[in-house]
Symmetry: C2
Subunit: 197 residues, 2 copies
DNA sequence: ATATGACTAAAATACGATATTAGTCTATTA
DNA sequence: TAATAGACTAATATCGTATTTTAGTCATAT
């Protein structure tokens, strides 16, 4: 029992340490020895939990997306009306990511360049998963008669796509601009979608 | 007279040649000697028209955006109703770019990586210029009472922003997917904006 | 059963020598 | 005499090789 508890725990500790080192030094300059020292375990231990350096780093990214998805789920189940929920969800998917990479001041480009192919592959999956959550609310809105009847899955993907250029995938937070500007832009896209032109 | 005509002409010939070489070999591997040979002039001649290699390459990009802008202008002045015009303009800004970088099968990433800072700076200006054209149609639609009254400039920027993730800025055409899929996605975003959810 | 860290093969870095290339500039041409 | 050419140069990139660093493994310890 205790074993499992520790095991779960150490995984997150490794990801926390990796997040710190990646934001400070970038992907290339974070060594597995650094990481082990930062976590406070031996190097071999990391390999008991992750397949390798790339896998650790991708898991850091996955965890951020998981946080975004949890936030989306929470909003999608709140008791606001569907339109308001979608609007907040659009903002949330942008801002959770923004806030989670804020401390990567310089070294995000390095990380993205190094893992580009693997990251691209995951991106498609991440967007798909987020679109699913949007689709639930869309369906509900259509059933309630407050949304135009339209292909739910396609519409969900369009909502995701329309906010993608605000994600810190290739634009660092520095390049994206101030937090409040980013939030305002996401909100504006949400407003337009809800009311139409 | 003839001098000026030739001058204008050679500029475009240089950009044509650069476009060919860049798409075939990428930024690093295109040498100014190659370029001169491809154009059929001496190297010094190129420097009479462009400040340098980077400037030539950025001008290739600028020319593509100019084409997109011309297309936007044309659509904005067509005799369709404002909503239809905006929809076509959203699709056009994506597709003109898509079609103009289609032949860059592998070497787009190289080019983008090499000129990233300069390219980022221009992007902001390009988007601004496109937004201006959108704003004209938006204003017209609002005056005619077919659009909700809203901040025109902000709305125009939101329209541009929402289609930006379909542009081949960091995603190559290969990564973006099939032409018809890209067009369908742009159209869907346009539809959503026009009618609302 | 889990964790460790010395170990190894592979990859990155350093460096001096060589080759290539961007950009210049004077001679040439139309 | 204005536009073009291409030889020239300083700067940058590439190469070959020696050296160092690092990702990932595995026999041993807890």
């Amino acid at each position: 029992m205790r074993t499992i508890a520790v095991r779960e725990d150490i995984r997150d500790l490794i990801l926390d340490a990796a997040d710190r080192l990646l934001s400070r030094y970038g992907y290339q300059k974070m060594t597995m020895d650094d990481l082990a020292r930062e976590v406070g375990v031996a190097k071999g231990t990391i390999y008991l939990h992750f397949a390798g350096k790339e896998e650790v780093t991708l898991s850091v990214v996955d965890r951020i997306v998981e946080r975004a998805k949890r936030e989306l789920e929470a909003i999608s189940k709140s008791d606001r009306e569907p339109a308001a929920r979608l609007r907040l969800m659009l903002i949330a998917r942008v801002m959770v990511r923004f806030d989670n990479v804020r401390h990567y001041t310089e070294n995000l480009g390095d990380l993205l360049a190094a893992l580009r192919p693997a990251l691209l592959a995951r991106r498609a999956r991440h967007f798909e998963e987020e679109a699913r959550i949007f689709a639930v609310v869309l369906r509900e809105g259509q059933r309630a008669g407050v949304f135009v009847r339209r292909d739910v899955s396609a519409t969900a993907h369009a909502l995701v796509l329309a906010t993608n250029s605000l994600l810190p995938f290739n634009l660092s937070t520095r390049e994206l601009g101030e937090r409040e500007d980013v939030e305002r832009q996401a909100a504006r896209i949400g407003d337009l979608f809800i009311d139409g032109l």
